[in-house]
Amino acid sequence: MVSQLRIARRAGQVVIRQRRLLATKPPPIVVTPVVTVPPAAPALNANTTIPRPGPIPVTPPTPPPLATRLPPPPPPPPPPPPPPRRFFRRFFILTTLGLLTFYPVSGWLSTQNETYRDFFVTNVPGGEAVAEYADDNGWDHFGFGTVSKKAVEGWQKITGEDKKPYSTQERVASRAREVEKDVRSGMRDLESKAKAAAKEAESKSQSTLSSARAKASEVADKASELAHQASSKASQAVDKAKSVASNAVDRTKTEASKAQDVAKHAADRAEDKAASLTDRAVEATRQTADKAVALATVAKEKVVEATSQVPFNFSDGVEGMVREAENALSRSEDKVEDVAHRVKEAVEPKPRGYLDAQRPRDLDPRAVPKKSPHEGKERYTGPALPLGFEPPPGYYIAPPPAPKNPQDTVKETLPLLVPKVKEFAESEPVITQLASTIDSLTQSLSTPTSSDPNGILIKAQDDLAALTKRLDDVKKEEKQRLEKTLAEKAEEFQNVLRTKDEERAQGEQGLKQTWDAERRKMVDEWRGALESELEQQRQGIEQRLREEVVSQGIELQRRWLRSIKSQVETERGGRLAKLDNLTTSLKHLERITLDNSATLDDNVRLHKVWSALRAVQAKADSGDAAFDTELRALKSLSTTDSLTATTLDALESSGIAQTGVKSFASLCSWFSNSVAPRVQSASLVPAPEHATVASHLASATISKIMFRHQAGLVAGDDVTAVLARAEWCLGEKDLDGAAREINSLKGWPAQLAADWLREARRRLEVMQALEIAGTQATLGSLLLV
């Protein structure tokens, strides 16, 4: 449409000039705005009739016909500066937009930067709210992909696909976030609540204070008013009350009498009721007690039946249980009886006579010492008072002394001697006599009414004298007996001594004889032993002599043989010896030749190995040629050497021999021409999981601008340095070093250089295997020498 308009406008502006012959120029058309101004009023004349035109048709300015259109007039002057209204509008719009951008961006920034957050919160109005909102909603995780993620989530929600997070980690994270949010909101709530509560409390306290004061003043006024009122009323009331009181008294008296009668009736009725209730209760308890007892007896009978029915030999546990049951039953019976008794006692009215009104006292009357009843009084010592008379005040009659019990005196009897002496009494009657006298003495002592003690003492003295006499007699007897026995013993011992002497003399003779016999025996024995030894030695010597003779004979024979040989040899011109020489030298020669052939074989083999190795190396170095035949040949030659055999086996199994390896030169050129530039252009690409098209393009362009190291040993970890070092290694023909350097690359450069690295590795592997084979061959050749 725009283009159409443009076309139309341009068409409108085009002046299609028609060719006219000898035509004058058309007059210029001045497009003047048609002004609807009534024509000027002509001069007023009396005669002139002012033609009053009708309403002038106001025609809109029609565009003049196409033919006579001239270029448009110059544009109108620029419009006046925009009115202040526009300025305000623009100002408002800009400020709102600016704020709308500023606050969210600042919110996000405050999550990232603490200093900005402080600044924002302190200086900007509403900053705290925005920062908190940002923190709550986790704006610090806002990054690339957040919006799309949110969009995806939203879409999922709409379509109803939003499932719970897949992994436990996510679940835990979301849960943790929720908890965090709750905690934070809770804390904030608590804080706000605390503040609000504090404020409320303050305001409340103030308001209560003021209200309390107001109320207090009100109350005081009211109280004073009431007091006045009350006093007036009180006086009135007193008069009234007096009149009323008198009436009331009479009335209450009558009523009281009536109430008393009523109460009496009620009390009687209550008593009757109570009595009936108690009778009923008593009956009931009696019945229950009887029932309980009956039940207990029934139970017991049952148990008895059961136990009687059960065989007598219970097992231990059952017996114990049975016994326990019986005990319990008996106890329960007792308890039931107790309870019944108590119940009866409680319910039945007790006989009043034996009411124990004495309640238990706290104090023990026995603790208090008995007060003597005659305190502060003197003993009366005057004449005896007649019956019924009391001692004068201040005196007391001593109580009569307690009658002495004759049984209380000397209850302890003195010991009697007779029974103690009974043992000796059988042999010595004197002792019993003495004992009995002593006993009588004691008896006399014990009884106060005694016979005369003197007689008893004289009796005792006599008894003692008799006793001493008796003792002397006994001593004499004993002495005589002892002397007799001594004499007898002496005789006996002398007899014994004589017999012993005779025996000793006989023993000595016997010993002498035995000694002689023994000596003779021993001498004979030794003589026999000597002779046997002599015999043996003689035989040994003879044996030796014989052997010597034999050996000498052999030697003599040998000598004779030798002499014979030598004579024969000398006769034959020593030909036998020469023959022996020949044989030995022949054998020697054989040995030498065998050794020679062995070494020759070894040399040949080694030579073969070397040539095979060289063939393999040449083939491999030529590049991209399969060298498996040569390798097999080499393997077959080096079966003896285990190391070489294993390495060559490994090489063959890896399959490199079929495809061949690249030559060093080709690798070099490949690297410098192809790999290095590509790696260089991809050197600035970030890690493959974060790389985008833009990063690749940027890397490609910027790496061309960047400086590059020349090939040399530059330090550094970046791609350029690595490539430079690799180039230098290749220049030094060090493929191993170059491969190591390239191996250190990571990410896209590593992926780009992977093929070259693989090829380099294959070549290195082959080189290493061949080197091992070469060293082993060298070792073998050295050993041969």
Binding site: M1, V2, S3, G143, F144, G145, S148, K149, A151, V152, D624, T659, K662, S666, S669, W670, N673, S674, V675, R678, V679, S681, A682, P688, E689, H690, A691, T692, V693, H696, W748, Q751, L752, A753, A754, D755, W756, E759
Partner: protein, 95 residues
């Protein structure tokens, strides 16, 4: 010299393997082709839409071409890094 042309021993078709240093270049080539194709398609769709629906205005064409270019860019991005999915973020493996 750069590519090792060895015949494949398996039954796969006889193709020349791509040397590894050419991968990015090949990818970019594909991206470029994709861009041309998609942008062209978008251009065509845009022209049709502009003519039929939008009264021969210019912006549908540009928009549609832009869509095509964007699709090509997205495809290129995916080919270079298949792990960049919208709404996901690849985190480094924690050791």
């Amino acid at each position: 010299m750069a590519s090792s042309s060895t015949p494949a021993t398996s039954t796969a078709p006889n193709t020349v393997p791509i040397p590894s240093e050419e991968t990015i270049a090949r990818k970019f080539d594909n991206c470029l082709a994709d861009l041309i194709v998609n942008a062209g398609l978008g251009f065509g769709v845009g022209v049709v839409a502009s003519v039929l629906l939008f009264r021969r205005r210019g912006w549908p064409v540009a928009l549609s071409t832009g869509f095509g270019a964007g699709v090509a860019y997205s495809n290129c991005n995916y080919s270079l890094n298949p792990y960049v999915l919208p709404g996901t973020k690849v985190l480094p493996a924690k050791q």
